[in-house]
């Protein structure tokens, strides 16, 4: 049962990522792309957690945690760029 559930969940997350990628490519505006990238980071966390379950290993926890903790910095930087041009001022 878990096998199947994992397979489906993997599929859904990857599908979600593909949709995000579509938005990233499609745009049409920069905020859209940044939003898509941000979402990709978040969905990647899910993917990694799933992978941890499926491989019965906790060694990937830090990767997911790290994305949660610092992944948003990229998005903030892009947003700040759009607002102010200069992200460190």
């Amino acid at each position: 049962m878990l096998e199947t559930a994992l397979t489906i969940a993997f599929g859904l997350f990857v599908l979600a990522l593909l949709l995000n990628l579509y938005r990233l490519l499609r745009g049409p505006t920069l905020p859209d792309r940044a939003l898509a990238l941000d979402t990709m980071y978040i969905n990647t966390i899910g993917l990694i957690v799933l992978y941890g379950i499926s491989s019965d290993s906790k060694l990937y926890f830090e990767a997911a945690m790290l994305i949660a903790l610092i992944g948003f910095v990229s998005t903030v930087a892009v947003a700040k760029y759009m607002l102010r041009g200069d992200i460190i001022e």
């Binding site: 559930a5 859904l12 505006t29 978040i42």
Partner: protein, 110 residues
Amino acid sequence: MNEIVEFLVSAFILVGAVFALVGSIGLVRLSDFYLRLHGPTKASTLGVGGTILGSLLFFSWQERALQLQEVLIVLFLFITAPVSAHMLAKAAMHRNLKRREDTRGGPWKQ
């Protein structure tokens, strides 16, 4: 593995995955940026949240001890995700992005 646990784990991760997908569908489907902004910030948080609940349960069962470590992922995400959304909203307003015509109220000038 206990079937109930297995069922619960499966359910959590599936719910999580579905919400993640819904959020991403929203990102594709909705018609203006401000609307799209809602999809990921909500559904993704719950999507990841669900998955992590599954994971918690799974590892706690596997190791026969409460494994709460992964709560931190959700915690960190809850701290950081609103900031991204906020900053992107500001950026969008600054750029004067088009919004659905029937939107009530309007963005502020940045």
